[in-house]
Amino acid sequence: MDALALLGPNRYAPELTWPALRDTCSALGVDRVVVAPPLPPDRDLARAGRELVSLAEGTADGPVRAVPLVRIDPWEPSAAADAAELLGSGARGVLVHPWEDNFRANDVDLLAPLLREVRAAGATLVVEAGFPWVAEPAQLAELARRFPAVPVVATRGGHMNMSGLSGGAMLAALRRADNLHVLTSGVYRQDWLEQVIGAVGADRVAYASHAPVFDPRLEVLRPRALPDQAARLAVLAATAIRLFEW
């Protein structure tokens, strides 16, 4: 199971279409993929979310099944209402993007109305993470700590730092908040993944390609290279199933 791909028209990048994603998943042996809309050119996230939920319904009997998330901008006055509607329509969680939508991941006051809806639905919150100043490891831990009943999932290993400086901070964040999880997307240090699994467990880590930002053909190699079979199974499927297919 691929725990995140960005599907649909994208304001900032070329569009990833469902046929292209489906074919890539099939080629890689992935039969379920969690999909979220990127920011569309017209910025209408609610419409993009409705379309994605509808698309996902149509994949139920196909060789690759899409599991929809919706993306919410917490600054929108309708943020909580949109989340409630779309979670009630079949979305399995909410994606937020602190960098693109200009808010701190741990802005509790801003996020509280949205997180109430996520919690009420028993859903999962996914945070585009690793961006400086707004989605750093310590901030992610604080967000998760303030909403302990909500599974919080950080993309990109929760950190993006080619100097290896934030890996320790993200591990500390995972230790601090039991409901905080990470996706493997874009993590460049295989030893860090193994360290995290050893420290907090494979059930806190899920494979994600984060297509089209990262290349699924490369990203899938990382969890498949994990030496422990139980960890591989957890990272490649079990963790994501628990987070998104409740």
Partner: protein, 246 residues
Amino acid sequence: MIIDFHTHVDEVLALGWHLAASDVLAQMDAAGVDQAVVMTITDAPEVNEDALAQTAATCAASGGRLHGFVRVHPWYEQAPELVAHALDDLGYRGVKLHGVSTLADPGSEPVLRVLRAAAARGAPVLFHSGDDPFVTPWEIAPAAAAVPQATIVLAHMGGYAHTADALDVADEFPNVMLDTSAAPYPSVIGAAVRRLGAHRVLFGSDAPGCPVPLELAKIRLAGLSDAATALVLGENARRLLDGVGA
């Protein structure tokens, strides 16, 4: 022949780091890599006063498979002499500079005198490069401009967010090359080859933290021609290494 242009061997007891040459060689063997450039994690003469001799001994014992790059801290007055000693007397084949660990401005005189010492011996200088202060591509560019006779290699192809800058710098400065180690995006490797020419890109892994087999797979995913692949995987590195002291 495949040459990995970026691996690490070091023993830092204070930090609990044990990066053994045997680990690097084992990864190389698993991936079918013939030779590798090795460097420490620490910056001579800091932390480990025996680092130069130890790495030299490691390389000497490798049967020609490992080539040392001397990693120095430019702020120390003896830095140019350390570089000269390493290249002239201990068999080193290049220099590594890491702006994050040294806080040395790439365009500053302490760094430039190290570059001049290396360039006088035909030795390439590998800069850690990515998204942090002192290591972004355009911060390293002044060094390339100031010492045009030095061959400068930007590691990691600009990291997560500076890939465009890395390509721009390499395009503007003909003495700049890029290494692929830990680079998150295979597509950027292809873009670099198309824009700069395959002779300007070097395969590297950042092993042992980034496993050589996974990093090598990235090159295979970059969509390069056979001829370009051969250059990237080994011919470029061979050219640089053979040019030292020539």
